[in-house]
């Protein structure tokens, strides 16, 4: 029992190690996750106390009850006697259980209400679509010229509510950034909505939580919660079309992109590539990861990725692209310049 209590208290008290990208339900970075975290602490405390009580009641007879063996005369008449003490204990324990469960139910419903009452004034809204195995993100705006798409990353302003419409393109995925909120499924044919707010600036990692096929393990998402000014700056940069290539190598790279299979699936705003099958690459170099969290975004990784994505993320829908070494170098130089 001590061991159990000890382990449970470790669960409660241990502060998660601070990683660069937090992904931890016990380290709330926003109000929704904080509500749930509080409920977790309440539940943990109540269930630990109850478990301890039951274990004590269970261990006492093991320690104190008289011992017997196969030859010990059995006591078949026991149920005919009034075993009043035992009856009373069982009834009291049952009543306490009912009261305790009712308490937990109230705590759960209260948390539910708190989650549903997030104030939505001055919020932003965006749309996310789950694909096998990446996240499409579209920042919507009343003014169509201010809309833009990105992939596998979110930027949100600290302190402002965010309403995300969740869609799925192929199979069921689940949006989950544990430091900000619980999860919400993305189900084909049924749009859903999740509302959250980051209250502490930081970089939070999320990951698809509904099994979605081969590369479910590498379907990650990075959320940057930043002050409003930084967010606006980022948004400005994202709305802009891709930077035109400035040197010969990058111009060649752009040509490679536009004349190979890349443009059949990817879009780069400001060029003729506008397919929507795969992540929008207009500002690909500004993103922290490649291939939905499979690799840090460095030119070397990008090169290996383009050359043979199946080696890095087996089963991914992107085919290997057979390019001459210098074409590949030019292409990487071009894409790395798309800040």
């Amino acid at each position: 029992m001590k061991r159990i209590v000890f382990l449970f208290s470790c669960l409660a008290l241990a502060q998660p190690a601070f990683a660069a990208w937090a992904q931890d339900a016990r380290d709330p970075g926003g109000v929704q996750a904080a509500h749930i975290h509080l409920l977790w602490l309440v539940m943990l405390a109540v269930t630990t106390i109850v478990s301890a009580a039951v274990l004590i009641a269970f261990l006492i007879p093991l320690w104190r009850a008289p011992r017997g063996n196969e030859e010990t005369p059995p006591d078949p008449e026991a149920p005919l006697r009034e075993e009043r003490g035992a009856s009373r204990s069982v009834i009291v324990a049952a009543v306490i259980s009912v009261i305790g469960l009712f308490g937990l139910l109230v705590a759960s419903v209260a948390t539910d209400r708190a989650l549903a009452h997030l104030p939505l004034d001055n919020g932003i809204s965006l749309e996310m679509t789950g694909h096998q195995w990446w996240w499409e993100v579209r920042y919507t705006d009343a003014n169509a010229s201010k809309e833009f798409s990105t992939a596998n990353e979110l930027h949100i302003p600290v302190g402002r509510p965010v309403t995300i419409t969740l869609k799925a393109d192929d199979v069921i995925h689940s949006f989950w950034v544990p430091n900000l909120h619980g999860k919400k499924d993305m189900i084909p044919g049924r749009d859903s909505i999740i509302q959250l707010r980051a209250d502490r600036p930081g970089t939070y990692r999320g990951q698809c939580a509904e099994f979605c096929g081969y590369q479910h393990a590498y379907m990650a998402l990075v959320v940057t919660a930043e002050p409003a000014a930084d967010f606006d700056k980022w948004k400005q940069a994202q709305v802009a079309s891709a930077a035109a290539p400035t040197d010969a190598l990058r111009t060649q790279g752009q040509q490679v992109f536009l004349t190979s299979t890349c443009m059949m699936c990817h879009a780069i705003q400001g060029t003729t590539a506008n397919a929507r099958k795969a992540p929008d690459l207009t500002h690909v170099a500004s993103r922290p990861t490649l291939a939905s969290g499979a690799l840090p975004n460095t030119p070397d990784n990008l090169k290996n990725w383009i050359a043979d994505p199946q080696k890095i993320k087996p089963g991914v829908n992107m085919p290997a692209t057979a390019l001459a070494e210098e074409d590949l170098r030019a292409l990487v130089a071009y894409l790395s310049g798309l800040k």
Binding site: L7, L11, P16, A19, A20, Q23, D24, A25, R26, A33, I36, L39, W40, M43, T47, S51, V54, L55, F58, L62, A65, G68, E71, T72, P74, D75, P76, P79, E83, A86, S87, S89, V90, A94, S97, L105, S108, T111, D112, Q132, D170, S174, W176, P178, G182, K184, I187, P188, G189, R190, S192, R205, A209, E210, F211, Y214, H216, A217, P314, G315
Partner: protein
């Protein structure tokens, strides 16, 4: 122990001639062919149990490979393609080929003996149910061997398992496995219900039925009500995949959520198909080793029934992250919490039994006592998962992996091992070694907690389920390594179990009829029982027949020695009703099972198989039910001359 119970039911009550005649009437025919033809519930029950334990071992090996893969970040023991097959087949096997069947198998073996009869009702159907279960399981592992193992999870969510996103035949094998196990599960349920209702020994009124038999009766009813849901679901999945229906295709008016409702309407009760029989095993073992009846028999029975009803009202707690309206979800939170009450009541009653009893701390009791620690934690985390907001954080993470293993291993596998140690002499006539049993227990108990407790923390730290690997910088490395070490300890404990079984089985020590001094009827027969179970059918005078002075009041005269004949009693009071001739061994259940297997497997490849393969099935069934002259003559003879 009631004096003379052995004289009434044991072999010594009969003359050698009578023994030989009964043996001929009820026994298996000699040789391998006779073995294939057997319809004796003990022969079938034994192979059912052994087969289920083999599937348990196979699925355990798959789990061990997964733990090796997850021991280190970015590991490459297996790739995503194989990993997804491994966890799908692991889950599917554990649920459909081990946990539910092994409980039913224990019932097939013990329920007829515990209610005091000579065979299970519908004995040929019982043989068929075993074969169809075996063939279904072999199909699944055959598919895995040829790299066609299902890979969409044991829950097989659409559209991932649908025609568009699961190419090849992998998901079809999964859906057809469900068909196999459904058929087997439903048939065994019918047999158990009929056996308990109509074949009880005279005097065993409803309120004298052993708690294990109550548990199996309740489970059998649950299976009959829950299975049709998954039966429809998996059939609709096959037709979506095979002939282009659109039950689950949102683009054509179908719905992906429909699958989840149908699957979990079955899937949640399924957890209780596994858990409720284990509760019955708990009661059997606790009563015997506390040397007294379980405290609060009526409460125990009503709790089982209440659990069964409530378990049909909580399926939506598997779907809290979908867009079901919030108010509706709260209802399911309440239902999920209420179901804790009947289980809590049973735990309190057992604890009261331990307080009031004289404890005989042998291996079976040790395994059963582990329930109080492990299931308690599993139950508590279950309450957390019942809460909608908290579930949104821990759903589909390793927290759930920890929870479900605490519930299923603590709530079912530990009691099952206790039951195996307890009933092993009644199955094989040998006792398992107490010494090895203790090593087996402590390694399993400690290994289990080392393997699964850290997973709670991993889930809170954001590790989702069903990932074939994880990056090194997530802070998950150490706990995953610890879990793998725990898994290795479990593996060693299981090897010890096998060693114990083999050594004990090969020892030649004879075991008395009632080595533990227990109270229920199975201990009134030899270890192992003769093919006809009881030399004479006992007349029951109490809830604890072997403990009470008037527990066995007498025995029944007049059943035939030469024709398998059973005593049929009334449902409520087990009063004498009539006699019934019983089927003899036949090969047709096996042949029918083969024909049905051909139909099921070939319909994976072409819908026309449903047409042409039904011809051999029809022929086999006609032959199965064709009355023989010999049987008709025997029955007529009994009618005239009882």
């Amino acid at each position: 122990m009631s004096a003379g119970s052995d004289a009434l039911t044991g072999i010594s009550a009969l003359s050698p001639d009578q023994q030989a005649r009964l043996e001929r009437a009820w026994g298996d025919e000699p040789g391998f062919y006779g073995w294939l033809k057997s319809v004796n519930h003990k022969t079938i029950g034994r192979r059912f149990i052994v087969t289920a334990m083999c599937f348990f071992a196979a699925a355990g090996i798959l789990a061990a490979i997964m733990r090796l893969q997850l021991a280190r970040p970015a590991n490459t023991v297996v790739g995503p393609d194989l990993y997804n097959q491994l966890f799908t087949v692991h889950g599917t096997t554990m649920m459909f080929l081990f946990a539910v069947p092994v409980m039913q198998a224990m019932a097939v073996y013990f329920v007829p003996i515990m209610v005091g009869t000579r065979n299970i009702a519908f004995a040929r159907m019982n043989a068929f149910a075993y074969w169809i279960y075996l063939f279904g399981g072999l199909m699944l592992f055959g598919a895995l061997m040829v790299n066609a193992g299902p890979d969409a999870g044991w829950f097989s969510y659409v559209p991932l398992a649908g025609p568009e996103y699961s190419a090849g035949k992998r998901s079809d094998f999964w859906a057809q496995l469900i068909t196999f196990t459904e058929v087997s599960g439903l048939l065994v349920s019918i047999e158990i219900i009929t056996t308990v209702f109509k074949l009880r020994a005279p005097g065993m009124t409803l309120n004298r039925i052993p708690l294990f038999v109550w548990a199996m009766l309740v489970t059998a009813f649950m299976i009959m009500f829950a299975m049709p849901s998954v039966m429809f679901a998996s059939t609709a999945l096959i037709t979506d995949r095979l002939v282009g229906t659109h039950f689950y295709n949102p683009a054509e008016g179908g719905d992906a959520i429909l699958w989840q409702h149908l699957f979990w309407f079955f899937g949640h009760p399924e957890v209780y198909f596994i858990f409720i029989p284990a509760l019955g095993m708990m009661s059997s073992v606790i009563s015997t080793f506390a040397r007294r009846p379980v405290f609060g028999y009526p409460v125990m029975v009503l709790s089982l029934v209440a659990t069964a009803f409530l378990s049909f009202g909580l399926w939506v707690h598997h779907m809290f992250a979908t867009q079901i309206p919030e108010l509706g979800k709260s209802f399911f939170t309440a239902a999920s919490m209420i179901i804790a009450i009947p289980t809590a009541l049973q735990i309190f009653c057992w604890i009261a039994t331990l307080w009031l009893g004289r404890l005989n701390l042998r291996t079976p009791l040790l395994f059963v006592l582990a329930f109080f620690v492990i299931l308690l934690i599993g139950g508590m985390t279950g309450l957390m998962l019942a809460s909608v907001p908290l579930d949104l954080q821990i759903h589909d993470t390793y927290f759930v992996v920890a929870h479900l293993h605490y519930v299923l291993i603590g709530g079912a596998v530990f009691p099952l091992f206790g039951a195996i140690y307890y009933w092993f002499p009644k199955i094989t006539g040998r006792m398992l070694s107490e010494h090895l049993g203790r090593w087996n227990f402590w390694l399993f108990f400690i290994g289990f907690n080392v393997a699964f407790f850290p997973m709670h923390v991993l889930g809170l730290k954001g590790m989702p389920r069903r990932v074939y690997t994880y990056p090194a910088d997530m802070g998950w490395n150490e706990l995953n390594l610890v879990a793998t070490i725990g898994a290795a300890m479990i593996a060693v404990s299981m090897v010890l179990f096998v060693v114990n079984v083999v050594i004990s089985y090969r020892s030649r020590a004879a075991t008395p009829a009632n080595p533990w001094g227990a109270s229920t009827l199975e201990w009134a027969t030899d270890s192992p029982p003769r093919p006809y179970n009881f030399a004479r059918i006992p007349v029951i005078g109490g809830r604890e027949p072997l403990w009470e002075a008037s527990g066995i009041k007498g025995h029944v005269h007049g059943l035939s020695y030469d024709t398998p004949e059973l005593l049929i009693t009334t449902v409520q009071d087990a009063a004498l009703d009539h006699r019934m001739a019983f089927p003899r061994p036949t090969i047709w259940p096996l042949l029918t099972a083969i024909a049905v297997t051909v139909l099921f497997i070939s319909s994976i490849f072409t819908p026309w198989a449903v047409v042409w393969a039904s011809i051999p099935v029809t022929i086999a069934l006609i032959a199965w039910f064709w009355p023989t002259r010999r049987e008709a003559a025997e029955i007529l003879a009994l009618e005239r001359k009882p």
